[in-house]
Amino acid sequence: MSTFINQLAYGLADGSILALAALGFVLIYKATGVINFAQGEFLLVGAYMFYTAFVVMDLPLVVAVLFGVVVATLIGVLVERLILRPMVGENPISIIMVTIGLSSLLKALVQAFYGTSPKSQPNLLPRGSVDILGASVPINRLAAILIAAVVLTAFTVFFRKSRHGIAMRAVADDQQAAMTMGISVRRIFALAWALAAVSALIAGVLVGDISAVDNNIAAFGLLVFPVVILGGLDSVPGTIIGGLTIGLLKQFTAGYLDPGLATVIPYIVLVLILLVRPYGIFGETRIERV
């Protein structure tokens, strides 16, 4: 029982961080129709930006967070402006490839400036553990779940209530109609990339705090694909369900079966879902006509 509680906590923590990473992915896909293969690298860059501000520049925590958010927003907007905007109207293969190129570029830049060795930073989340039903669960995992939940709720409220959130949903629904209503589609595209970069930053910092700030963060980011396929590529609630499911599945496989198998099980699930229900649990089914 105690192992089970432990696995549950670890799985949920991983899952909620995955949900955050996937949120950025879904935001971009929903608003702009771009599949972003560089989402993992956004996590990576976010984690390193925060590390730079917090450890290298020795800024106070709040300022470091702000610095990270500003840089992430800037990167998101720049990527949209410089790389994706010239690609509007190209075929999906080209758009997928351009984000793959971007991921290679971002990873290389991080490697050039910071090297490949893991960086350690002072703990952000409280350490130690609490006793739940006889299992000792690390507090930082619980804190990660809490932070992810708060951020995801904040984003959901933003989409439901705020002017920009509603504009984003309008653009996602029908770009032309949104444009005729006076919504600047360009600004919404930029906003989507900026928000995606910020959510990736938070996810990256959480992964960095739980394990270490190193290149593996980008590999963690690759897991957003099983998550978004499970939840549906264009569904925000889907990322939460998908993230938690994949996180738990991975943790339980690692804990009860085989740690090696845990790295591949999300992808097996991914293929099965694609074969059975390609648009995921909450995804919108697309009907094509000539």
Binding site: I35, I83, P86, M87, E90, N91, P92, I93, S94, I96, M97, V98, I100, G101, L102, S103, S104, L105, L106, K107, A108, L109, Q111, A112, L222, F225, P226, I229, L233, G260, T263, V264, Y267, I268, L270, V271, L274, L275, P278, E288, R289, V290
Partner: protein, 354 residues
Amino acid sequence: MAATATGIHHRSYTSELRLRATRAEYLRLGLMTVLLLVLPFVLDNFWLSQANLILIAVIGAVGLNILVGYTGQISLGQGGFLAVGAYSSAILSDRIGLPTPLAIIAAVLLTAAVGTFFGLPGLRLKGLYLAIATLASQMIIEFVIRRWDWLTLDQGYLNVERLNLFGFQIGGRQVFEQQWYWVLLLLAGLTVLTARNLFRTGLGRSFMAVRDQDIAAEAIGVNIPRAKLTAFAVSSGFVGLAGALTAHYSEVVSWEKFTLDVSILYLAMIIVGGLGSIAGAVYGAIFMTLLPELIRQLSLGLGDTLPFLADQLPAVRNAVFGLVIILFLILEPRGLDRIWQRIKDYFRFWPFRY
């Protein structure tokens, strides 16, 4: 038949069916043949090994371009299919004792079968969904070859004996690269020729119809599932050949050679060369294989003025790699092939601009 200022006028069906029509095209073909035949006598062993790597890459890139460029089915599983070809050929020839040519043929067929299997999701999916499905196939194949101890006899890698073709043994260090060059040149040449001709047949045309407008293609009677699966089979057959040749050429097989990065590298080749162009796949294979070496030479040359470049060589290489993909997609989405066409047009129309 003859090229005039206003274009090429065919006067018979046979002249229209020719692969090459004008004297300039025959001249270029002749020049290229001479160049390819002279190459092994002028290059030293190092550059000859680069040429051999290019020839293997040409086979793999042409295979991938059949799937991605001509059929419009994006695949991130190239690395996995190369691995299937490499492992099966190595195991069949060294452990089971099949003659190497037979082992290579068997590897090609096996890879085609595996490729068709992983192409099954493609029947329901396209575009980005298919990209993600093939990403998963890459991960799954990679996992299987890493964890299946029987494949590598618990070593993590597989030694392959020196290539033996019909009793002819590839020689030692002195002649190794040169003998391989002839073998690979022959196979790469056959691959290019087969692919060029494939798109003059009904099957090849049906691939392109699926790419351009699948629903319309179905309406005019193209069997879409069959076309898609055949495209996966044909393409992965070529990829399997490239994988098998990698195994026999490098004489060692390990899973590190077939990661997701390799899949991306091959996609980069066909993007840079030109999607949906056999010549483009060749240009792309040359460009992307030589790029790391050129960067290395450049940063060694600039090592004194810009020590940063030489210190961070792997990172610089990856950054340039990413940048090349992005710039090509934004500035010239149809790749080197299109650039070459434009250069030819410039001279053809000179002194006019169009």
